[in-house]
């Protein structure tokens, strides 16, 4: 037992959880914590808007596999975090958001900067806490980290009334904690492993769909081992991009609305589908009734509520993806010999050869997103980390920026948050200062959180933003071209702002490039200079992202 204030207990507890950085912005109701933070060993990174703090924490978490922490004051500080918390919830990222709250006696009185952040975040967090006594803080932090980082990870909010921060109490820091209502099921049931083995050994055309769960569970190598043993091709969901090397002969790239032709066509030929760490999102499956209707489906997920939520499953397996894949591989390798090729693997190669260049790329122009991204891939080292914004830029990145290692492609999947990529890149760079970090952006998305340039420059966290600039809200414009008779409504952004001047105003370097050579030069400069860089790449304003499966249609109805 040690006597200290709630704020001291919070910082001490965070330190015990090995937190080395907090992204945040102070305000009235969190000042006691900031006062203690000033003297602690934990680095604080000052943002210019709290939304970015949450995205930075998520970028940090997803690049490192650790828990990311962000902090804000009560009221608007807390509500500004909400988009970032929702994003982390949809993409199962472990972050902890600490918010200040008005003193206990004022809760419920509509006090200045009071907001019911517990009520607001209940549907978008894995759990949230509002300790009513300072002595609860050590235990609360311990539980928050355990809940955020285990099972299916997710965001946790800790809302601290100001007088709880200042209250002095005897503190007991537990080493371990038991949460009686929270026991994630890690180990798969042996009977289910047996059933899956049975199906897969008899399969003629086995197919693997790998989701974000493979990355979260650090199971990429186990996945590759099973794929090679079965000679089963692998398509990833958008969130699973990076879980399987996209230069592997069995890789088909990303599936879904803007997936590759190869992935979307060949999955329909599968007779047994092994779905790993994926929740069958509508963006991945298209119209669910037409998604592999005749295939037998095995689904592995740590979250029992995801198994069978969107699609009936033949063999459900609840367990940690990594652990389950190891057990499944052990079981399969007793029954199967590794082979060089099969009828099915040859068929896959044939599909790939046939469809590889089917999607036309503008040959008249140089500065088209597809070529820019292929060029970028060639220039960046294999372990460079890329984030993206949301919209066309994101889908081009998914299609044309090939990824070979897990945790090197970080994007807002479930929530589709414009403005995610740049602050996320800053968080990534904090976690991985050793590798180049690039944000593939659109002009619309980047403008949403461009004020993070201030953080990037003044905290010396150099990242590079590549803006695929079509002076449009490109994805909405694409839908208006395709489905609304070209009636543009509120999508034209004009050549505003001047991104070079914007970058320079914040003390970053900015380049506007007019050819692929200039683009290469700018990337080289960014890689060599170690300062925050914005590369503005003008692209044709009416370029579409293809292939595309229109919303609500089946995979067969892919257009390209």
């Amino acid at each position: 037992m040690v006597k200290m204030s709630g704020s001291h207990a919070l910082i001490e507890a965070l330190y015990k959880e090995k937190v080395d950085v907090i992204f945040g912005l102070p305000g009235g109701a969190i000042m006691p914590v900031y006062d203690v933070l000033r003297d602690s060993k934990i680095r604080h990174i000052l943002v210019r808007h709290e939304q970015s703090a949450a995205h930075m924490a998520e970028g940090y978490a997803r690049a490192s596999g650790k828990v990311g922490v962000c902090m804000a004051t009560s009221g608007p500080g807390a509500t500004n975090l909400v988009t970032g918390i929702a994003n982390a919830y949809m993409d199962s990222s472990p972050i902890i958001a600490i918010t200040g709250q008005v003193p206990r006696a004022m809760i419920g009185k509509d006090a200045f900067q009071e907001t019911d952040i517990i009520g607001i975040t209940t549907p978008i967090t894995k759990y949230n806490f509002q300790p009513r006594h300072a002595s609860e803080i050590p235990e609360t932090v311990k539980m928050a980290f355990q809940i955020a980082s285990t099972g299916r990870p997710g965001p946790v909010v800790i809302d601290l009334p100001k007088d709880v921060q200042t209250e002095v109490a005897d503190m007991d820091f537990p080493e371990k904690i038991e949460i009686r209502g929270y026991k994630p099921n890690i180990s798969p049931h042996p009977l289910q492993i047996e059933k899956a083995t049975e199906l897969l050994t008899k399969a003629e055309r086995p197919f693997i769909l790998a989701g974000g769960g493979v990355i979260i569970s650090n199971a990429s190598q186990n996945l590759q081992a099973i794929s090679e043993l079965l000679l089963a091709p692998v398509a990833t969901t958008f969130m699973g991009k990076g879980s399987f090397p996209e230069n592997h002969p069995l890789s088909l790239g990303v599936i879904g609305m803007h997936g590759t032709l190869e992935a979307n066509k060949s999955i329909l030929e599968a007779d047994v589908l092994l779905a790993v760490g994926t929740r069958f999102s509508d963006r991945s499956t298209g119209k669910i009734d037409e998604f592999c209707p005749d295939a037998k489906i095995i689904q592995i997920d740590i979250d029992p509520s995801e198994v069978g939520k969107n699609r009936a499953i033949d063999v459900p397996i609840v367990g940690d993806v990594g652990k389950t894949l190891i057990e499944l591989h052990n079981s399969l390798s007793k029954r199967l010999e590794k082979k060089e090729s099969s009828l099915w693997s040859k068929r896959i190669q044939q599909i790939k050869d046939e469809l590889r260049d089917k999607v036309k790329i503008n040959q008249e122009k140089d500065l088209v997103p597809q070529k820019v991204l292929k060029e970028l891939r060639e220039m960046l080292p294999i372990d460079a980390i890329v984030t993206t914004e949301v919209g066309q830029n994101q889908m081009w990145a998914s299609l044309y920026f090939k990824v070979y290692k897990p945790r090197t492609f970080i994007s807002s999947g479930g929530l589709g948050t414009m403005g995610f990529g740049f602050p996320a890149a800053i968080g990534v760079k904090v976690a991985r200062p050793d590798v180049p970090v690039f944000d593939i952006a659109g002009d619309g998305s980047f403008t949403m959180t461009a004020n993070s340039l201030a953080t990037s420059v003044s905290e010396n966290i150099p990242v590079t933003v590549v803006i695929l600039n079509n002076s449009m809200l490109g994805m909405v414009a694409q839908w208006q071209r395709l489905f609304y008779n070209r009636r543009y409504s509120a999508v034209e952004l004009g050549e505003c702002p001047d991104f070079v001047k914007l970058a320079e105003a914040f003390g970053a370097q900015g380049f506007r490039v007019d050819s692929i050579d200039e683009f290469k030069k700018a990337v080289k400069q960014a890689l060599e200079s170690h300062v925050t860089t914005v590369i503005d790449v003008p692209i044709p304003p009416e370029e579409n992202v293809f292939p595309m499966i229109p919303a609500g249609k089946g995979l067969r109805e892919i257009i390209y």
Partner: protein
């Protein structure tokens, strides 16, 4: 997915007895668009635990999904889907009835006796009746009661416990 048969389900849960738990559960029902029929929460034999009883009409996949989503709530410790065959099911209703004349008054008293209910309040022109039983029994009483004129009803929703 083919359309499955809809049935009434009673889901009994043991939850942490602390503020906000009912909010977390009802919030989840709203968020996932589960249309539950009733929910009741009350203390248990242990101070730190409460029992939350939920009734829902739905098909099996819906109920399965509801149970899984409940299971994800950190404050929910135990869940069981009760089998009506070996479960005692009770609901309590308070019904305020319009009393037109002396005949109505004696009819009401008769009916209440048949239903083993109780008269809990009497005033000029109205009576309040307490009925306990299965929801069907309460519904049956309410059908009779409409002939007198119902002024107000308050029902608790189902609570239930497995026999033995």
């Amino acid at each position: 997915m083919e359309k499955k048969e809809e049935k009434n389900y009673i889901i009994s849960t043991i939850v942490e007895n602390k503020p906000g738990v009912l909010y977390r559960a009802s919030n989840m029902f709203r968020k996932r668009a589960f249309n539950i029929d009733s929910i009741s929460v009350g203390p248990t034999e242990r101070k730190d635990l409460a029992r939350m009883t939920i009734t829902i009409n739905g098909d099996e996949p819906i109920v399965e999904q509801l149970v899984k989503q409940l299971g994800k709530l950190i404050d929910v410790i135990k869940i069981s889907v009760l089998n009506p065959q070996n479960t005692v099911i009770r609901e309590l209703a308070l019904i305020k009835l319009h009393v037109a004349d002396a005949k109505a008054r004696s009819d009401i008293i008769n009916f209440v006796n048949i239903f083993r209910g109780r008269i809990v309040d009497v005033s000029i022109g109205s009576m309040m009746v307490e009925i306990t039983g299965t929801p069907d029994k309460i519904d049956a009483f309410l059908t009779l009661a409409t002939t007198f004129g119902i002024k107000e009803i308050a029902r608790t929703g189902i609570t239930a416990l497995v026999r033995g």
